[in-house]
């Protein structure tokens, strides 16, 4: 019996924190931070002199200001910093207008493109961000500047929250869904429903019809992949292609997207969920540089 068998938290993903111990923020000229308050997860990133120093990623709570404070405090505590040590802080994401201590707010579109440019390099031209409750496709140039974008936040199908719902329904930890979607004898057709509520009903129907849980997951991953691929095709894919957001950790969706597009995505050492906050911190660095030059 799995450890989670009796719990209700099959949707729960690992919150994370990381600090680059080789860098010392005390000797930096500019310490900038970015906070991305998403609908499902929140991230804080600190950059020293324009390089990633540390990040913290956690679940968003009921209040955006509280989530912002909590995520940045957790990161600062780990690094021995106080908020006064941050020269510039940029807020982004769904809850960005509710970060009272941010010097500036920017859209998550611009921040994700800038963050992806840092994480995957200047060759990235097409970025797919699969967030908690929305999905974004962004085309950018070699500096990470947005050239075109498209966003869909109409419903939760094709997003992280949709995957969490399926994890809870099937009583399988969300982090296992990707691998389990390949433990099948033959690839099933995608679930037909585009709405996560109906997809849930359809998944229940498939179980009753004799589908294994793994096959239901495969059908759901395929549906999610088909849905985002239609968005990507609307913008057009130009290589290199990079995926960010929590769903980037789900190989079942990522590999199916790659298969449908006929393009492989770039893999990096960074946590795929920090792109928005990282971009915000990098914008913060640039804005602070500009401010210093002007004064």
């Amino acid at each position: 019996m799995s450890m989670l068998e009796n719990d209700k938290d099959y949707w729960r993903w690992q919150e994370s924190c990381w600090i680059d111990e080789r860098r010392d923020w005390r000797t930096a000229r500019i310490v900038s931070a970015g906070i991305d308050i998403g609908s499902v997860s929140s991230q804080a990133v600190v950059c020293v002199d324009g390089e990633l120093y540390g990040y913290h990623s956690m679940r968003t709570g009921g209040s955006s200001p509280d989530s912002a404070r909590k995520v940045i405090d957790a990161l600062l505590a780990r690094s021995g910093m106080a908020i006064e040590n941050l020269h510039y802080l940029v807020g982004t994401g769904y809850g960005r207008i509710n970060i009272p201590f941010a010097h500036k707010t920017l859209t998550e579109i611009a921040c994700h493109a800038r963050g992806a440019n840092y994480m995957a390099g200047p060759s990235v031209r097409t970025l797919l961000d699969m967030g908690g409750q929305d999905c974004k496709v962004i085309r950018c140039d070699e500096r990470g500047k947005v050239e075109r974008f498209l966003m869909n936040d109409k419903c939760a199908a094709g997003t992280g929250r949709g995957m969490e719902v399926i994890a809870d329904l099937l009583k399988i930890p969300v982090v296992e869904l990707g691998e389990r979607s390949f433990a099948i004898d033959a690839e099933p057709p995608a679930v037909s429903s585009i709405c996560v509520v109906f997809a849930r009903s359809e998944a229940l129907g498939l179980i009753k019809a004799g589908y294994t849980k793994n096959k239901v997951i495969a059908a759901y991953c395929q549906a999610m992949a088909e849905r985002v691929v239609s968005l990507i095709k609307r913008i057009g894919v130009e290589q290199e292609f990079f995926i960010t957001g929590g769903i980037a950790k789900n190989s079942g969706v990522v590999k199916r997207i790659e298969r449908l597009l006929g393009v492989e995505s770039i893999h990096t050492k960074y946590d795929s969920q920090i792109a928005g906050a990282l971009g915000a911190a990098l914008f913060g660095h640039t804005l602070m540089q500009k401010q210093t030059k002007e004064s």
């Binding site: 075109r148 974008f149 109409k154 419903c155 709405c195």
Partner: protein
């Protein structure tokens, strides 16, 4: 930048695309704002400091309904926002 505001759902794809490069140098002082009977357009400064027109957030997931009064069933030509934008920066996907 080509900014697509809208959504995709079970009934189709509904996006209004705005070419912000043309929008930033608008020759008619963002006439789209006044032209839209639903007042869906708004002038904002984008993340890179350029002035541009965008679709207000509260309309982005309701385009099929909010644009309905301007879209006759058989003829989608002559949309007020598209006609007002002489720079040709606005396109509807449906």
């Amino acid at each position: 930048m080509i900014a697509n505001y809208g959504y995709q759902d079970g009934t189709g794809e509904y996006y209004i695309a705005i070419d912000t490069a043309h929008c930033a140098e608008c020759p008619v002082d963002h006439a789209c704002v006044k032209a839209c009977p639903q007042q869906m357009f708004e002038i904002v400064e984008d993340d890179y400091g350029d002035s541009m027109s965008w679709i207000k957030e509260e309309h982005r997931c309701l385009l099929i309904d909010d644009c309905a009064s301007c879209k006759k069933v058989s003829d989608h030509t002559g949309l007020p926002c598209v006609v007002a934008c002489t720079a040709g920066a606005i396109e509807h996907s449906w």
